[in-house]
Symmetry: C3
């Protein structure tokens, strides 16, 4: 495996094999599988789960990691091309990224969307520029438009819980949030549920439709798997018989990158905070999923998050397990 | 071992077994004992010895650690209950702590006293709230009222030096310090020396008596071990024939949490800085102990700290060794 | 090996053995050579390559590291002697350094020049004070006046590329840089190339001659190896037939430590930015070397740095490999 960047690079069968491997490594540890192997971790954006789960994953397989993050003890990093570096930044990513990669057998990179230009973010332009500088296998630890480790963990979580693939009803719902958030998780989650063969509904208020390229990619995945993809702003219709509600927030595509305009769009939308009333017509054991971090009382009520519907901790632990599978496949030579 | 939170949870014999194991691991390394095992380290307060010694301890046993600290590359953490998270903090400890714990086979947690409410600190309320969120074994890396790793290291250090348990005379002395410091180290140290069976004197100026619950817990430990516990502000009497002076500083319990009032209490107490004159009537080889960090010229003179009485570096190295024993007992399955 | 502080402590033959070992460890990994061994890493100055490459080196040999840096979660560190520590710093290096060292089998220390007093920096006074506090083997990870890991990596890089030792022509050139930089890399590089037996020219503008002690040390190394050491401000003469140009910047020794004066010295020197014209009379495959980080458009043009002359990424990867050799020799007991 040369890279783990997008679930769309894999067939549903290949994804199920990775999940099977993740379960095997959980049941039967292999603490020498990657002995002496190193995963470089480059964080250009903040992290908790990803930071911790990749370090733990490598230790459990007998290898190790090192972490480079801009707020650590390093020189500032410049990323613009053709620049005269006469300011604060002492190093350019054109040197820093290949060097960091050269110390590892693989590299994980995180770089959130800049939210300056929608087309750049949809094309994952910054992330592609970074990975173009790397000679080793690489892992997308969340880019502008993708978060394959989260999606693989969520796929496994649904499998662990017995939520059906074909015929299972999956709602991806927008929620209120004080910040205009990036598209990575909603885009990756929508595609994942469609590729798993589920009947997926995107539930969002008017003005928050996902970009066509994201919807179209999900529809193509659904076409191969027997799933469906629809969208609506009708909460009751969307939640009818749903087995999962996966909650996230994202910017409106109108005036993308303009926080002030985004704040105005959202003024009337504080009721997009998931509470028990959302589940009136849902399947009785409908689950609440979220990639975390989640804002209590803003995105979801304490009652839901602390109740039996919530599977957010299981999702987070599955991050570690599926990443162990990816790393094992990528680095063990077997 | 499900948790290592308080020496009071162990008999003196069990503590001696841990110290024997620590010595064995120092003499005969076991670099595969914990292969593939992970210790999560959550620092909600600053650290040097604890941060370094736990990482080193796990490597020496063949496992590894990851570190999460608020000033690292993570989102802000909220800890209040029932709150609408509409501010800076993007994540609540109710999610963060279980997630961090889920990536490890055990977790170490450090959270100093908030010093807002004495009863809360004496009850270790915040630390209990944190550990209630954890499913794995846990280790107290210093809480509001306890520091069992330090106490276990200090017990071993006295044993290494041949300082007698029953009949040994131990002085726990207050010292001047610019900050009002928490009760964790004095409370844990007093209890440890009493449980070891020593004749313990708390030496402190008027107004700095330790809370009754701390004194009473130490007296109960002394009752089981044949030791004694007394307190005084008479330096000469306290130091008479003493074999150890263990120095620390702590807040006055009067106006606890009020730094301004504490500063006034201390105005006349700058002479509570340990120098050679303190040792006039002490045993000739009376040792100086301190958990570090220590302020030179404030808590103790350079001459004492750099002289042959001081065993502070040995105490610090023993942190690593006793933690190896705790981790081995907790995680090796043997 | 008790310390790795200066290439001058080794014969050229011993250095070649270390490089042979580095190549062997690259070809035939030894992931259990240092199992259970710990390298303490103390960074009193910022780092990227050193931080990452030492962590990776230890993992590849089966051991591990921990990192202590002032901007991490630790108390402030005091370094002055005889001081009353009544300010912000809660700990003195006289305790911190021995404690950190006591948790490792060896320690790496980085402490850049203070640039307050040239004689102190030339004598590596601060670094010697730090290592005097350490009982374990230690590694110089860049001090005021030395950077032996970089020099060993550069020696290996030239060998990898087939650049001749005796008879090879090596130019160490000053370049423009917005900051007055320390002497560690130019001093170590000059000595390394001389000890390798090369014909070395120091190319620098008037006012930027290296101190006599540095020149003299290099001349002594050249005398043992059959190399030569000269200096000039004549770029064309220096570059004639050169096989390597190694670029760095350093303070003028005039008004050392006075940034304002240094800025004035440099006003007319912006053309000391390496571009293709510098190579007119050089050997056709003359290489561009730099220890990184490097400022594009300031020290060197994009065209050179991105072109086939540049070997900066190979130099950086060799940092890891030669450090593995040093650690193997220092800690494997073989």
């Amino acid at each position: 495996m040369d890279c783990f960047n997008d679930l769309a690079d894999f067939s549903a069968a290949e994804i199920r094999e990775l999940i099977t491997l993740a379960r095997r490594l959980d049941d039967k540890p292999e603490p020498r599988a990657l002995e002496g192997k190193v995963l470089s971790l480059l964080f250009l954006s903040p992290s908790l789960r990803t930071l911790a789960s990749f370090q733990s994953a490598m230790i459990r397989l007998g290898g190790g990691t090192f972490v480079i993050a801009p707020n650590m003890s390093i020189h500032g990093l410049e990323s613009r091309s053709g620049i005269v570096m006469d300011g604060v930044a002492a190093e350019h990513i054109h040197e820093a990224v290949p060097v960091i990669a050269s110390y590892g057998d693989a590299i994980g990179i995180r770089a959130f969307a800049k939210r300056e230009n929608l087309d750049d973010d949809l094309a994952d332009r910054e992330f592609r520029e970074l990975t173009a500088l790397v000679d080793t296998p690489y892992i997308n630890m969340e880019s502008a438009i993708n978060h394959p480790c989260q999606s693989l963990a969520d796929w496994k979580t649904m499998g662990d819980l017995g939520i059906p693939a074909n015929g299972g009803k999956f709602v991806l719902s927008w929620s209120w949030h004080p910040q205009p958030l990036p598209l990575a998780v909603p885009a990756a989650t929508l595609h994942m549920a469609a590729l798993r063969g589920m009947d997926v509904t995107v539930l969002r208020p008017e003005g928050f439709a996902l970009p066509d390229t994201i919807m179209e990619k999900a529809r193509q995945a659904a076409a191969t798997s027997g799933g469906t993809v629809t969208e609506t702003d009708d909460r009751a219709a969307a939640m009818q018989d749903s087995q999962v509600i996966y909650v996230n927030s994202w910017s409106s595509m109108q005036q993308y990158g303009n926080k002030h305009a985004q704040d105005k769009f959202k003024l009337e939308l504080r009721d997009w905070c998931v509470d028990e009333s959302w589940f009136d017509k849902a399947a009785s054991d409908c689950r609440f999923m979220h990639c975390l971090p989640v804002r209590r009382g803003v995105t979801v009520t304490d009652r839901i998050l602390d109740g039996s519907r919530s599977v957010v901790i299981a999702e987070a632990r599955n991050r570690m397990l599926v990443q162990m599978a990816v790393l094992h496949r990528m680095l063990s030579g077997s």
